[in-house]
Symmetry: D3
Subunit: 138 residues, 6 copies
């Protein structure tokens, strides 16, 4: 078993705002992140897959293919987007780094070739904050 | 003459959109950055000042004071904000990294103590793009 | 289960010196790190907690609260301090990165709210050396 | 149980080329990496060991010794080398990051002192691609 | 006057070997870098241009265009290449970081649009070694 | 004219304490940095030299020689040392990053070969604070 990770970047706007709470409670809980006019981030996304090394290529999986799959099925949906308004897989959910990581996991899970085992999504919101998700049963 | 730099971070939402052009021209010129629903960045701000070393302190200037001044007069205005809608010193200007760096220079210039000579504003929009500004006559 | 990490920084002085050994043996074992006049480091501290996502906030735990707890109960004790002379939780122990990481784990364990599960302490002593600790039973 | 990691760097040339395939198939599979005139990388190598803390030293293991062992038994073989032509432990294998990480694991395993338990080899080929290997049974 | 920098990456193989000297002298001068079987690097390239801000776009120059120009006229020539054997603008020259930076400057100078003033080429060979070039008359 | 930079690292203990002032004034001016029991840093040192490229080597100057000179004449004096107590070139001066950068400049100036022109000392005290010095007449 070996683990291969590809790192990608994207930018997006969001706000942390629970529509079931009034503005005051949102500001108490989320502080500046509740700003109704949005703020945004340069996210760093690390996608880790695992499996056996193919003898012919020496690869677990072609990392350029992995990069293309991430771009087509994930970054296309979220890069330079408003996470609250424009991202289908976050509809009805809080736009936290936690939910974004879980959403990316679920999306990649659907579109990765069956021989690729998704192991981890690691998502930096800022250089000092990151979230890791290994799927539901761990 | 010695140079001292303090690095700070902030997050903000923006879009690149010239209101004198129609949506089509904006998208042709600015691509994904023209998304009307905004996107955003983790900016890294480097403020460089210059001058002589004070013999009593060994400092050009107290870097903790410099950090507080940047926070009070710059970050307070732009951190977790929408640069197009909420920042006075960008009103009527395109919200590019270039104009943001110039705006930060002009603001710090006003509020730094007279013994501090501002030398450079360096502003990263992403880990691969940055702008430097040394003031008007250089 | 999701994992959330907050990164903090602190500076401290220390020396590697076992008082039960003479100076010669200490220098043989610890080399330059045994310098009786101390040396020091910029440490990078990564605190990882784990748990379930709260539906109302989208958070595992508020990362700003986590940062404040680390500052109040850990950094207050060790930042800009002499690890050998001034840190209660290192008294009677060698001031290695290993023991510092274990000490930080034990301290945070005491003060984190009961709903937060501490998962890992990762501590960089230099950009090329780090230690990870997951608690006693692993 | 505690984990200690030492980070080292090396440079090498390689190509991805399977001699059992013709040039066309190699270029189809490996793209620019199949260039017969070689290309190369600055690799970053992270070696993680695990075990108990020694009470006398406060160390899991002396990290300077670990660095010397990595240099003597691994970097000496691969730094500033051609991975396809000059590295015994890669003979007959594709020179992928996966196989290089496994080869480094096997070599260190042989030469580390018996009290040191090797836990992980993490190998960056570029700042955006890395592989992790934990040994055969995991 | 404002300065805009775009950062790109490429990989290449090279050796430091002066064909007018014998192998012994080359090894004495260049050490491991003279290895006749090549070694290689992940280079980081920073291209800085300067000029005035355009009022309509807020840009000195469109950084995505700058990136495309660097890719088309520079990276296309050197990425995943053997610098000694395959790069026209290095023919007859030693493949040092210094000469590579000068060669990149000369090439970009030829192909950048006339309204763009090239200011600096900064080229990292390793994370601890870089060269800067500002053109011939400075 | 071309510029070549070598990056090195060292660790040291220091305190900011002016012996002509009482403890109270030192703490008012220097805050936690005045702690009489010392604190410390991982410093990053960047040494930039300038000159013409040698045609035979392709080098401005052999960067490995530059590294050895920095180690022999600078790091030997300050690495794993107490800057206040053990560094001759800081005697009688405040141990600020500013004075440390100037001291390193003066020392390297003395020991660099005459064909090497020292251009800049850049010294990071923490990842967010650095000082640059270009010599006395600039």
């Amino acid at each position: 078993m070996i683990y291969l990770t590809r790192i990608e970047h994207f930018n997006a706007a969001h706000k942390l705002f629970n529509p079931e709470w009034d503005k005051e409670k949102n500001e108490m809980i989320f502080g500046k992140c509740a700003n109704e006019n949005w703020h945004g981030h340069n996210y760093e996304l690390q996608v880790t897959i695992k499996g056996e090394v193919n003898e012919g290529t020496g690869f677990l999986f072609d990392v350029k293919q992995l990069s293309l799959l991430i771009k087509e099925y994930v970054l296309e949906e979220i890069d330079h987007k408003n996470l609250n308004l424009e991202v289908d897989f976050l509809k009805g959910k809080m736009c936290s780094t936690e939910n974004l990581a879980i959403g990316i996991w679920n999306r990649l899970k659907m579109y990765l070739p069956s021989e690729v085992i998704l192991h981890k999504i690691k998502l930096y919101e800022t250089p000092r904050i990151f979230v890791e998700y290994f799927g539901e049963i761990k």
